[in-house]
C-alpha cells in the first residue's frame, strides 16, 4: 500500500464522483441554456437561480416506481441500463486531465492525473464506445414494445454507422502524433508557433475536428441526430418502458458519453490540459474550461438545429461523412510523409 497506490485509488474515486456531478450539472446547464435560447428563464424556484434543480430531479427519480412490462425479458431489461452506464463511465478512465503532480512533495513518484495510462488509449475509447451499443440494443429488444424495438434498432444502426467516421478521424490524429497514448498526444501539442498560436491539432486538422465532433454527436444520440429518441415519433425510443433509476441510468449515460466525447476531443484537438499562465499540475482547470466549452456547444446545437430524419441521417453518415473522413486521412498521410 504505497502512498502512490493510495493516491491513485483516491484519484479514481474523485474522477467517479466528478463524473456523477457533471451529469447533474449538465442537467442544469441544459435546461438553463435551452431556456435562454428560447427567451425564457428556466428553473428558478429550487434554490438560488434554480441551482438545486438537479438535486430535485434526482430525488424525484429515486422515489418513482420501478416498472417492468410483464412480457419483458427480466435479465436483459435490468442489464441494459447497467451496460450503458458502465460503458459511459469506463471510457473516461483513459482520458488524461492534467499533467503530473507530486501533491506538493507528499509522494515520491509523480502521480499522473489520469485513471489508467495505457499506451493504446485511443483504441480503448473506441472499444468501449462499441460496447455502449449493446445497452441500447438490449433495451430496445427486451422491453417487448414496438416503439422501443424500432428506437433501439435505429439507434444502434446509427451508432455503428458513425463509429467508422469517428475511428477514421481518430486515426488521422494518431498519424500526426505517432502514438496511440492520449497522454503523449497531448504532450505533443505543447509549444507555440510564432509564440502566439498554440500547437494544437485543431489548427492542423480542422476538417478532422469537425468530422470528429459530428460523429461524436451522432454516437451519443444527441440532436440533431437524436431521431431514435424523437419524442414526436417514437414516444421515447429505446427507453420508453423504463422509469425511475433505470431511466436515470440511461439519462446519466447519455450525459457522461457527451462529457467523454468532449474530453477526448479536447485531448486530441484542443491540447488537453495545456494552456498559458498555469503550471502543469493545475492544467486540469484549462481542461475543465475546454470541456465545458464543447459541452455548451453540444447543448447549443440541440436547441438550435432541427432534427435529421432517419434516412437523411444514415445517408449523411455513409455518403458524406465517411468519404470526408477517408479523404482527411489520406491528405493527412500525404502531408505527414511530404512535410515530415
Amino acid at each position: 500500500m504505497t502512498p502512490l497506490l493510495v493516491a491513485q485509488l483516491v484519484l479514481t474515486l474523485v474522477v467517479f464522483v466528478a463524473l456523477l456531478s457533471s451529469a447533474a450539472a449538465m442537467v442544469y446547464v441544459e435546461r438553463k441554456v435551452a431556456a435562454f435560447l428560447q427567451q425564457r428563464i428556466g428553473p428558478y424556484l429550487v434554490g438560488p437561480k434554480g441551482l438545486l434543480q438537479p438535486l430535485a430531479d434526482v430525488v424525484k427519480l429515486m422515489f418513482k416506481e420501478e416498472l417492468r412490462p410483464r412480457a419483458a425479458d427480466a435479465l436483459l431489461f435490468g442489464l441494459a441500463p447497467i451496460i450503458s452506464a458502465t460503458a459511459a463511465f469506463a471510457a473516461f478512465a483513459v482520458v488524461p486531465f492534467g499533467g503530473e503532480t507530486t501533491l506538493l512533495g507528499v509522494l515520491k513518484e509523480p502521480l499522473r492525473l489520469q485513471v489508467a495510462d495505457v499506451n493504446v488509449a485511443v483504441l480503448v475509447i473506441f472499444a468501449i464506445a462499441s460496447m455502449g451499443v449493446y445497452g441500447i440494443v438490449l433495451a430496445g429488444w427486451s422491453s417487448n414494445s414496438k416503439y422501443s424495438l424500432l428506437g433501439g434498432l435505429r439507434s444502434s444502426a446509427q451508432m455503428i454507422s458513425y463509429e467508422l467516421a469517428y475511428g477514421l478521424s481518430l486515426a488521422a490524429v494518431v498519424m500526426l502524433a505517432g502514438s496511440l497514448s492520449l497522454r503523449e498526444i497531448v504532450t505533443n501539442q505543447s509549444g507555440y508557433w510564432f509564440y502566439v498560436i498554440p500547437k494544437w491539432y485543431i489548427f492542423l486538422q480542422p476538417i478532422g475536428f469537425l468530422i470528429y465532433m459530428t460523429a461524436g454527436v451522432a454516437e451519443t444520440n444527441r440532436a440533431p441526430f437524436d431521431f431514435p429518441e424523437a419524442e414526436q415519433e417514437l414516444v421515447a425510443g429505446y427507453h420508453t418502458e423504463y422509469s425511475s433509476m433505470s431511466f436515470a441510468l440511461f439519462f446519466m449515460a447519455e450525459y457522461i458519453n457527451m462529457v467523454t466525447v468532449s474530453a477526448v476531443a479536447t485531448s486530441l484537438y484542443l491540447g488537453g490540459w495545456l494552456g498559458p499562465f498555469l503550471p502543469d499540475w493545475l492544467g486540469w482547470l484549462w481542461f475543465l474550461l475546454k470541456v465545458f466549452l464543447l459541452l455548451f456547444f453540444y447543448v447549443w446545437m440541440r436547441w438550435t438545429l432541427p432534427r435529421y430524419r432517419y434516412d437523411q441521417l444514415m445517408e449523411f453518415g455513409w455518403k458524406w461523412l465517411l468519404p470526408a473522413a477517408v479523404i482527411n486521412l489520406i491528405a493527412t498521410a500525404a502531408l505527414v510523409i511530404w512535410l515530415g
Partner: protein, 173 residues
C-alpha cells in the same frame, strides 16, 4: 498476482462459453459469448498483447456480435425446450457422450505434451513484437498480400449482401 488474474479470466472465458451452449434463450447465449470474449481479451493483456486485446473487443465483441444480436433478434429465434429435438436417432445421447469423452481424452493428451510456460517476466521482449508499430510494420510489408486479399473478400461479401437484399425488394416482393 498474474496467476490469480489468469485463473479468473480463464474461468470467466470457460464458464461463459459453457453457458453459451447451455442457455435456452438465444439472446442470453449471445450475451454470454460477449462475456467470454471479454475474458479472452483479459488473457491477451496478461500475455503482453494489448493491441490484440483491444482489437478483439472492438471487432469481435463490438461489431461481429452486434451482427449476431441483430440476426437473433430479428429472425425471431425461439427459446429452446428442455427435451431433445425430434429427428435424432434413439442412440443420440450415447453417441454424443462417447464423442465428448473422446474429445476430452484428446485434449488432455494434447495438453500434456506441451511444456508448462511461466509468465514472461521481461515485458520488453513481448512488447517489441506486439506493439502497434511492430504489428503495423509486419502487416503492411510481410503480410500485405493477405491483408489486401482479406479486404477484397470483405468487399465481395458486402456487395453480395446488398445485392441479395436489393433483389428481394426490387424484383421479388
Amino acid at each position: 498476482m498474474d496467476v490469480v488474474s489468469f485463473y479468473i479470466f480463464a474461468a470467466i472465458a470457460v464458464l461463459s462459453s459453457i453457458g453459451v451452449i447451455g442457455q435456452r434463450n438465444p439472446m442470453h447465449s449471445v450475451m454470454l459469448l460477449i462475456v467470454s470474449f471479454g475474458g479472452l481479451a483479459g488473457l491477451y493483456i496478461l500475455l503482453d498483447a494489448p493491441f490484440t486485446a483491444v482489437t478483439q473487443i472492438i471487432i469481435y465483441a463490438g461489431a461481429i456480435m452486434v451482427l449476431f444480436l441483430f440476426v437473433v433478434m430479428l429472425l425471431n429465434a425461439h427459446t429452446e425446450d428442455d427435451s431433445l429435438p425430434a429427428g435424432l436417432g434413439p442412440h443420440a445421447l450415447r453417441f454424443g457422450a462417447l464423442l465428448s469423452a473422446l474429445l476430452a481424452v484428446e485434449v488432455v493428451w494434447g495438453l500434456s505434451r506441451v511444456g508448462v510456460t511461466g509468465f514472461n517476466s521481461d515485458p520488453g521482449a513481448a512488447s517489441a513484437i506486439s506493439s502497434v508499430a511492430a504489428i503495423g510494420q509486419t502487416l503492411f510489408t510481410q503480410y500485405s498480400f493477405a491483408f489486401e486479399v482479406t479486404s477484397i473478400l470483405i468487399l465481395v461479401s458486402m456487395v453480395g449482401a446488398v445485392i441479395i437484399a436489393g433483389s428481394r425488394t426490387r424484383g421479388g416482393r
